[in-house]
């Protein structure tokens, strides 16, 4: 039962962040997912990222659609509002919430069924709008809750637990994001916390839609031989292209990074992402280059991971709407209602 709270008693020696909070303060209810589920590792990485950034949990809203992945917002940040909406429609909820309260920090958790099938349109349009949201797609290539059907991200030739072979092309969220103009595109692996946490942190601080496709194996239905979204396959075929380190403005220590190999991308608030290029010819601010690089590696059966593309000049939806700096939901009524005298004047137009 996902509403059972974990005990709140903390070990006194747990490390604390700048707010004096421990990682336990960023947890939620106990997971109800299968033991070993990749999604639980992603949840742990999310907890770590929020903790490291010293974000007050209640200033966040956690949004999701329907599916195994969409259950996970209950498992982190218990002091944040959560919204488990309808299948494939988390982006619309996020868009509305962002319009109402631009100060609300939004994290959306989705899966490959939720994002690449029923919610494909909404995913495309939230990218197009560049809503200020960290969008985590927990990608396991399979429908878990309905017991093992292929999802749209299943690779051609991969097999289901029952031995069926997928003959259809897969929809690659990362390539799609690049072609749709997404301003922050990353791919990672749930089993690679070292890579995932900094990417999540950078994504949280990105102004605009940060899309992270996390390969997150389904231990029950898609972790067998023949699966291309299992632990073994991913570990073997993962190629880290760009390693990201997120450095908040006030903590910048550039000396830790070897000059030359590091590309510093300054974010809207002055903090920066340091990208260590592992491939010589890779430029993470070159959208077309990122696309072809991923395709080249895919042809060789390799899964490219890291922060693959970032647009440091991203303009998010609220900026494009030219809305007030203050959140709209909190504006005083007097500033919204024109009043009777204006109504009288306005009606001359209708005579």
């Amino acid at each position: 039962m996902s509403y059972i709270l974990k005990p709140k008693v903390h070990h006194p020696s747990l490390p604390k962040n700048e707010l004096g909070l421990t990682r336990r303060d960023y947890e939620g209810t106990l997971t109800t997912l299968c033991a070993g589920c990749g999604h639980d590792s992603v949840t742990a990485a999310i907890i770590q990222a929020f903790w490291e950034l010293s974000i007050e949990p209640y200033k966040v809203a956690k949004l999701s659609g329907i599916g195994c992945s969409s259950k996970t917002p209950a498992y982190f940040l218990r002091e944040a509002h959560g919204f488990n909406s309808v299948h494939g429609r988390m982006p619309a909820i996020a868009t509305g919430a962002n319009a109402a309260n631009r100060n609300l920090m939004l994290i959306g958790i989705s899966g490959d069924g939720d994002s690449l099938s029923i919610g494909l349109g909404q995913l495309c349009h939230i990218m197009r709008r560049n809503v200020n949201l960290l969008y985590v797609l927990e990608n396991n290539g399979v429908y878990g809750l309905t017991k093992g059907q292929f999802s749209a991200s299943a690779d051609p030739g991969s097999t289901s637990k029952k031995g069926e072979i997928n003959t259809m092309q897969c929809i690659d969220g990362v390539l799609m994001a690049l072609s749709l103009g997404a301003t922050f595109v990353a791919r990672s692996f749930s089993g690679d916390k070292e890579q995932l946490v900094p990417i999540l942190k950078a994504g949280l601080m990105h102004k605009g839609l940060a899309f992270i496709d996390v390969i997150s194996p389904c231990v029950t239905f898609n972790d067998h031989e023949g699966s291309t979204k299992g632990y073994a396959y991913t570990r073997e075929h993962q190629i880290e292209l760009v390693s990201a380190d997120f450095v908040p403005e006030f903590r910048e220590i550039t000396t830790e990074y070897p000059a030359g190999a590091v590309q510093r991308v300054v974010m809207h608030d002055g903090s920066s992402v340091h990208l260590r290029k592992l491939a010589e010819d890779y430029d993470p601010t070159d959208r077309d280059g990122a696309y072809s690089h991923i395709r080249e590696h895919q042809a060789r059966g390799e899964v490219v991971t890291g922060l693959l593309y970032v647009d440091p000049d991203s303009r998010d939806m609220i900026e494009q709407c030219e809305a007030l700096d203050e959140p709209l939901y909190n504006l005083a009524f007097e500033g919204l209602c024109p009043g009777s005298a204006e109504l009288e004047k306005l009606q001359l137009r209708f005579r």
């Binding site: 209640y58 944040a80 919204f83 429609r89 619309a92 996020a94 809305a323 939901y329």
Partner: protein, 604 residues
């Protein structure tokens, strides 16, 4: 129906996309400014250019504003539809046509007076350029009508001067075209005709406005800050109106920053999702749509109902089913709106009858949605939404304070021991909510999956029922808060005449006709759902109630029977669903034979 001074109707037939709207608007406004009650109905195709379009204008000194299907004069400017247009003129009426080309003799009727004016010839001689010639043909027929109907030429000139104050070239062209039509008519025909205008003083406290515009204005006055939409006829002009008003009232003159956000969604599913997301986060948010949009929004509306999130939806109804006739009116969504979504759902619905109520109910919708934490659907229709109605000026009470419902602030949360989202123990079955981002003590998990009163996930039958039973009580309570029905009784009346929305004008006129004919009826117009007790009491007080509505399947009758327990044999249907607005004649024709059959006072 009698015809004469300040009591007649005429119809203008043109091809779509020729710019006739501006000429028709000029005629309407002139009559209105002459102080004479007037109403206009635009019958247009789902097309940009070429297909037939009609504009009907009814002038009525008694103030009857419903559509009339009887036309004293036809302005036949579209040869494509001559045959139909000739047939629609009442016997003894007039037909104005462009005599540049000969009129097909087979279409001549002996009982109609033909007024041939060589409009194209005159306009082509006086104007150059294809576009201007097309536009000025319309203005020329307006000029001819000014003479034939006795319009006050000072008023006409005043209007063109206002409209083209900053475009002197256009003003000159318009005035010239008006003169062409006017002078020809005066020179060749006895002007004015027996159907003609004489100044009155009945419109000075009124405006001419369409319901999409007034509903949009209502959203601005209610303090809505987020509008999400997917363009769909006939609701589109509502968001355009909202945008226009916001640019005027909600844009900071210095910073140019907006106190609103408008989101054009990828579809209606996203549009309602955005509204729910924004409302959940504390903004007043709305979406305008039409029937097909309501179908698509079903799943999300069920979520908002069950998770108790406010949402305001405007359904500008059009002719269904399916794509139906997008530019024709109907009241076909009563059932789909009231019960949108799977499972046990029931939504608060409001039914304005004209643009004035569209404005008032728009404001009420936000109050109800936030107070009851549930979707509220405002059902207008194409006729209310897109046609210009003469209504009393809109009024605003500056003492109005929005009802934001039970929203706990961080300070409130400090006062209480623990916050649980779905308790609802205040007696009204409405729970308190919190907004995201405000306090760690207010956090809860919003979900459409089974939940208990603490907001926790549940698959326990008792816990589940406890919540849905409370919601049922809450929604029932909304029946006392929606606008009460309008009830008008007549001495000696035994029959009930029940209607809803835009049928109001036709019914008010029909009641007078029926009364004069010896069949007085008591009248009730329902304005909100769930129905309050007055609705049931009215129905019970009459052995036979005629339910007048604009759909094939008598949806309001079904809803009334379902919700009040009134047996169907005491609810007789009067239906009109061709896609045109209802007229009094349809009501009378529906009531009279049945009224005779049921023998007043004896149950049918």
């Amino acid at each position: 129906m009698t015809s004469g001074v300040n009591e007649f109707a005429f119809k203008i037939a043109t091809p779509n996309g020729t710019g006739s709207a501006s000429a028709n608007g000029l005629i309407m406004q002139t009559i209105f400014r002459m102080g004479i009650p007037v109403t206009g109905k635009n019958l247009f195709p789902s097309n940009i250019q070429g297909l037939p379009t009609w504009y009907e204008i009814r002038v009525n000194k008694h103030g009857y504003t419903a559509r009339t299907p009887v036309f004293d004069l036809m302005v036949a400017m579209n040869p494509q539809t001559y045959e139909k247009d000739v047939a629609e003129v009442r016997s003894g009426g007039w037909l104005l046509y462009d005599s540049t080309w000969p009129f097909d003799e087979r279409l001549l009727r002996k009982d109609v007076n033909y007024i041939g004016i060589p409009i194209s010839q005159m306009v082509n001689t006086s104007f150059k350029g294809v576009r201007e010639r097309i536009l000025m043909k319309n203005i020329a027929y307006a000029g001819a009508l000014a003479a034939l109907l006795g319009m006050d030429t000072d008023v006409v000139r005043g209007l063109t001067q206002e409209k083209f104050a900053k475009k002197p070239a256009l003003l000159a062209s318009n005035d010239k075209a008006i003169d062409l039509g006017y002078n020809y008519a005066v020179a060749h025909f006895e002007c004015p005709l027996p159907i003609r205008l004489e100044r009155m003083d009945e419109t000075k406290d009124c405006i001419l406005i369409d319901g999409n515009t007034s509903a949009a204005l209502g959203c601005v006055y209610a303090g809505a800050t987020v509008g999400a939409w997917y363009p769909i006829t006939p609701s589109t002009s509502m968001m355009e109106g909202f945008k226009g008003f916001c640019e005027r009232f909600r844009r900071d003159p210095e910073t140019k920053k907006n106190r609103y956000v408008i989101l054009q969604a990828e579809d209606e599913l996203a549009a309602i999702g955005m509204v729910i997301g924004a409302s959940w986060a504390g903004a007043r948010a709305f979406t305008p749509t039409s029937g097909p949009g309501i179908s698509l929004m079903g799943e999300f509306l069920g979520l908002a109902y069950y998770a108790e999130v406010p949402a305001v939806v405007f359904d500008v109804q059009r002719t269904g089913p399916s794509t139906g006739m997008p530019t024709r009116t109907q009241q076909g969504d009563f059932l789909s709106a009231a019960f949108a979504s799977h499972g046990d759902t029931k939504h608060v619905c409001l039914y304005p009858c004209d643009p004035r109520e569209a404005f008032e109910f728009a404001v009420a919708a936000f109050d109800l949605a936030e107070r009851f934490q549930t979707p509220v659907l405002v059902l207008t229709d194409l006729d209310i939404g897109m046609n210009d109605w003469m209504i009393p000026k809109l009024k605003w009470d500056d003492a109005y304070k929005p009802d934001r419902g039970k929203v706990l602030t961080p300070a409130d949360l400090e006062e209480i021991k623990g916050f649980y989202r779905y308790l609802g123990t205040d007696g009204d079955a409405i729970p308190a909510r919190t907004l995201p981002g405000e306090s760690p003590k207010g956090a809860y998990f919003t979900r459409g999956s089974g939940h208990n009163k603490f907001g926790g996930y549940t698959e326990d039958g008792d816990e589940y029922q406890e919540v849905v039973d409370r919601i049922a009580v809450k929604i029932r309570g909304a029946g006392k808060a929606v606008p009460a029905p309008v009830i008008k009784k007549q001495p000696g009346a035994k029959l009930g005449l029940v209607t809803v929305g835009g049928c109001h004008a036709a019914c008010m006129e029909a009641i007078d006709i029926l009364a004069a004919d010896g069949t007085p009826v008591d009248y009730m117009r329902v304005r909100g759902f769930p129905f309050g007790d007055e609705v049931r009491e009215f129905l019970e007080a009459h052995d036979t109630n005629f339910v007048v509505e604009q759909n094939r399947d008598a949806q309001m009758r079904t809803l009334l029977s379902l919700e009040t327990g009134m047996p169907l044999n005491r609810l007789e249907s009067v239906l009109y669903y061709s896609g045109y607005p209802m007229s009094a004649l349809h009501v009378v024709a529906g009531v009279k034979p049945s009224a005779a059959r049921v023998k007043v006072g004896v149950p049918a």
